[in-house]
């Protein structure tokens, strides 16, 4: 069998390679006798060296294995310490209030509750939180069906060679830098949507759900555009995961369903989808987590206006976009409160994404016994 032979060859390679480099038996019979060192002593030293080197490898890799945990803890500590004064100053207003005013830099800073701040400073992050959730929700609603549909088509209908090409497209889509997506969204895609697509959407029948598409369509920067651009960015993750899961569905179950006379669409609905649905759901939630934290593209495409969107086309912003676009001007606050407020915003964002990610991993882990989702790998 041609499939066995290469494996044997590889094993032979390994076997041929090994004695040359490190074969205690060879060393003992060959050299040890010549320099007169007793075999036992030599063997003992050898095993001591081996033990030490294994210890070193173990210790070294254990230290590096602690890095992610240490980085995570350090980040949380820095954020909490940094945000504490802002949390005390803003209170619950930060989570539920609207209105974002860093205060007047021209008047004397004042103390409130022991915290120095600019007169009139008031931070309500609800528009940011809402914008983050809305844009990400649109991204998943738009991206999920496209990703799953495409994955099904790739697995079931595309010839092997072509599916490799589409795989390359997926990798490119995942690899395009978010600033490039952002510029495309703001210069090309957004204006095209506003000119050719959005006006048509406003003429959808005025019934519940569809009536969210009514109103002024703007110039292409805003919530819906941001959601669609985000969708393009999370599609590769969901599509690649779905494709890989679908390929693992046992052929026999499909053939069984086909033998019962089901059409291929019915086979997908009744058999394949049941095998993969939990993993696909997990991938969708991971995509949601990625959309929530996406920064640069969203900052470019939402319009970065610190307010809630007036309608689905309206300009707004997200937590991540606010941090990146406001950190510069935050440094002009002589009391330093504004920078700390951004730390509080970062904490809120981190809390949301952590919850989403943990939920996704729980779902995936529960479902995927023997089917490992390539979690967190963007390519």
């Amino acid at each position: 069998m041609s499939s066995d032979e290469p494996g044997d060859r590889a094993r032979d390679d390994a076997a041929r390679d090994l004695p040359r480099r490190d074969d205690p038996a060879l060393a003992r019979t060959g050299r040890a006798a010549k320099d007169g060192v007793p075999d036992a002593a030599k063997a003992a030293r050898r095993s001591r060296v081996a033990r030490l080197s294994e210890r070193a490898l173990l210790g070294g890799s254990a230290v590096t294995a602690a890095v992610p945990l240490a980085a995570l803890v350090a980040m949380l500590v820095v954020l909490v310490i940094q945000a504490l004064p802002a949390i005390r100053y803003n209170g619950w207003h930060f989570l539920v209030g609207s209105g974002w005013n860093p205060g007047s830099t021209y008047s004397q800073p004042v103390h409130t509750g022991g915290i120095l701040h600019l007169a009139g400073a008031s931070y309500g992050a609800w528009p940011l939180i809402l914008g983050t959730l809305e844009a990400s929700a649109i991204a998943v609603l738009v991206g999920f069906p496209i990703a799953v549909g495409a994955a099904v088509f790739i697995v079931e209908k595309l010839p092997r060679a072509l599916s490799g090409v589409v795989g390359l497209f997926l990798e490119i889509l995942a690899g395009i830098p978010s600033v490039v997506f952002g510029l495309w969204g703001v210069l090309t895609f957004g204006p095209w949507l506003a000119r050719d697509i959005y006006p048509a959407l406003t003429h959808l029948p005025n019934v519940p759900v569809l009536d969210i598409f009514r109103g002024s369509t703007g110039y292409g920067e805003g919530l819906l555009t941001a959601g669609i651009v985000l969708a393009a960015m999370i599609i590769p993750l969901i599509a690649a995961t779905t494709r890989d899961l679908l390929r693992q569905v046992p052929e026999a179950t499909k053939e069984g369903a086909e033998a019962l006379g089901l059409t291929s669409a019915e086979v997908f609905r009744t058999v394949q989808f049941r095998w993969v649905r939990t993993g696909v759901l997990g991938a969708a939630i991971l995509g949601l987590g990625r959309a929530l934290g996406e920064t640069i593209a969203v900052a470019l495409v939402t319009g970065s206006v610190l307010q809630s969107a007036t309608n689905i086309y309206g300009t707004t912003t997200t937590i991540a976009a606010t941090i990146v676009s406001q950190l510069d001007s935050a440094q002009t606050d002589p009391t330093g409160l504004y920078v700390r407020v951004l730390a509080e915003a970062a904490l809120v964002l981190m809390a949301i994404t952590l919850l989403v990610n943990i939920a996704a991993r729980r779902i995936v882990r529960r479902s995927a016994r023997g089917v490992a989702l390539p979690v967190g790998v963007g390519f």
Partner: protein
């Protein structure tokens, strides 16, 4: 009798087309059409974005961007290109050491228990932390807190933390896929475990690990948010100083210059976008090449290699 004979002579297995009702066939067709449309919707943005990048850059393109540094009124991107190169090199080295070590520990040494679960989840959670949050912490703690200023070291630390999970995961999966027979062979030869790890296990895992590192580099090339407040930007070439010296990089040029009133500066944004896309495409092709070569030279592991495809391997461990 005749009816039974007719029934028997019908092909066994799949039912004839005429047996499937029209509405079911229509629904089948509709479903696959929708799936095909979805695939088209996936391919179109890729082509459109790539086309847009080159279409916007071509009229503005001038080769002097490779030789001139950025100036206030235009110039080139030589400094940004060099800075991105330095960042890539630094991240490549750091993430190779830390990421591979991390994956090696989790795959080989980690005892099953709460601590290992914690370490592994920490790595997974880290991969879900938004890059701007990591960047903000880098700014507050390193640039301001430790008085490093905009610096290479701060940028490297932030980027490395961002991509460690990818390399760690890739390493863990690649090691998990090394055939047990390889280890047994090494053991049968009386090889010490540490040497077996280095010469047999890690060596066979190289393609998977290399793909992980390439993914990490591609992410590093494309990141903007974590670098804006750690690397800063400068119009001169990056210096050898680790701290107190800002590092120019390509994504900054795209992000900052695109709405500049000066046409010469604006052109830099589009040119840097082309460089970014070309770099990422080159890295993707490199990872494909690694997978292809590993399959060619070691067909026994033909199903492994790629990071995504490697996902199956974990359960086998």
């Amino acid at each position: 009798m005749a009816g039974a004979a007719a029934a028997l002579s019908r092909p066994v297995g799949r039912r004839g087309r005429e047996d499937v009702s029209l509405s079911r066939r229509a629904r089948n067709l509709a479903w696959w059409s929708l799936a095909g449309v979805a695939l088209a919707l996936l391919v179109v943005p890729v082509v459109w974005v790539l086309y847009g990048v080159f279409q916007q850059a071509v009229p503005n393109w001038h080769w002097s961007i490779f030789t001139e540094v950025t100036t206030g009124v235009g110039g080139g991107l030589a400094n940004a290109l060099a800075g991105t190169g330095v960042l890539l090199l630094g991240v490549g080295v750091l993430v190779s050491v830390i990421g591979i070590g991390c994956g090696l520990y989790l795959a080989e040494f980690a005892p099953t228990g709460a601590l290992t679960t914690l370490l592994r989840s920490a790595s997974e959670i880290l991969s879900g932390v938004p890059s701007i949050v990591i960047g903000y912490v880098g700014y507050v703690a390193l640039v301001v807190g430790l008085h490093w200023g905009f610096s290479l070291l701060a940028a490297l630390i932030v980027l490395t933390v961002l991509v460690i999970p990818y390399v760690s995961k890739a390493t863990e999966i690649a090691i998990g896929q090394v055939p047990v027979a390889y280890r047994e062979g090494a053991e049968a030869l009386g090889m010490a475990r540490s040497r077996a790890l280095r010469t047999v296990v890690l060596r066979s895992a190289i393609p998977g690990i290399a793909t992980g590192i390439i993914v990490a580099l591609a992410i590093s090339v494309g990141e903007t948010a974590p670098l804006l407040y750690t690397a800063g930007f400068s119009n001169s070439f990056p210096t050898a100083q680790l701290v107190h010296s800002a590092v120019p990089y390509l994504t900054y040029a795209t992000w900052t210059f695109y709405d500049d009133p000066s046409a010469a500066v604006k052109a830099l944004a589009f040119d840097s976008m082309v460089l970014l896309v070309v770099l990422v495409l080159a890295l993707i092709l490199a990872s494909r090449l690694v997978v292809w070569m590993s399959q060619k030279h070691s067909p026994a592991r033909a199903t492994g290699g790629g990071v995504r495809r490697a996902g199956r391997g974990r359960a086998g461990r």
